[in-house]
């Protein structure tokens, strides 16, 4: 059970060593920087140091209690992240698949709209633009009714 915020790149497979020992089901999600049709060069991610780490751990615990997870792992990067590199990952472990899937889905919906991260696109043409939040992200979160 752990939450991490770091600027360094990570290997999703290496993160799963020793994860969820004894579980019957493990679900993992990895978010990767898209090239947006060849226009993007990198993402730059800003966060709220202190609050981010605490909230990630709080929501990991909340997911564990709600879905009966035996283990969970959240890792989110900040700083400059090149196209093709992993931005973040979530892993959940449970006795059966449904809890693991739902726990990961819940954590992702929450991370999208409530974790204090902000993305900025660094484009190949040199322009820079903040990524706007999607209305759909709020709808996704509302499905769990405890936002």
């Amino acid at each position: 059970m752990s939450a991490h915020v770091q600027s360094a790149p990570f290997d999703p497979a290496a993160q799963l060593r020793d994860f969820g020992r004894g579980a019957g089901a493990i679900v993992t999600f990895t978010g990767i920087v898209r090239d947006e049709g060849g226009t993007l060069s990198a993402l730059e991610i800003e966060h709220y140091p202190g609050m981010t780490e605490r909230l990630l751990a709080e929501y990991g615990e909340r997911a564990a209690n709600r879905f009966g997870l035996s283990d969970w792992h959240i890792l989110h990067r900040h700083g400059t992240i090149a196209v093709g590199e992993p931005i973040m990952m979530v892993a959940t472990a449970a006795r059966h698949r449904r809890a693991a899937f739902e726990g990961a889905d819940y954590l992702m919906d929450w991370l999208k709209s409530r974790a204090p991260f902000w993305k900025r696109e660094i484009r190949r043409d040199g322009s820079v633009a903040w990524v706007a939040a999607r209305d759909g992200d709020e709808d996704d979160l509302a499905r769990w009714q405890d936002a």
Partner: protein
């Protein structure tokens, strides 16, 4: 009372600083926003559209009508875009 006010992402760019120390008697976040708006054109621009703002009071997500009594750190930012 004295508060540390933090700004993130586009709000930080508009205001022109990541943090500032503020002396205020404002009772709520919204009341403080009105005071801060008078500080500079950048502040006014940052607070022009309250519906697009989010805030955290002592690192807990809060709404704009949250009381400021006893608060030490207040942060303003646009909707989050993690994941």
């Amino acid at each position: 009372m004295t508060l540390e006010v933090l700004y993130f992402a586009s709000l930080r760019e508009r205001v022109g600083t990541p943090r500032e120390t503020v002396e205020t008697q404002a009772a709520t976040v919204r009341a403080l926003m009105a005071e801060l708006s008078a500080r500079s054109a950048g502040h006014a621009a940052a607070f022009a559209d309250p519906a697009s703002l989010r805030c955290a009071v002592d690192q807990q997500l809060a709404n704009l009508d949250a009381p400021l009594d006893g608060v030490r750190e207040l942060a303003f930012f646009p909707p989050m875009t993690g994941g």
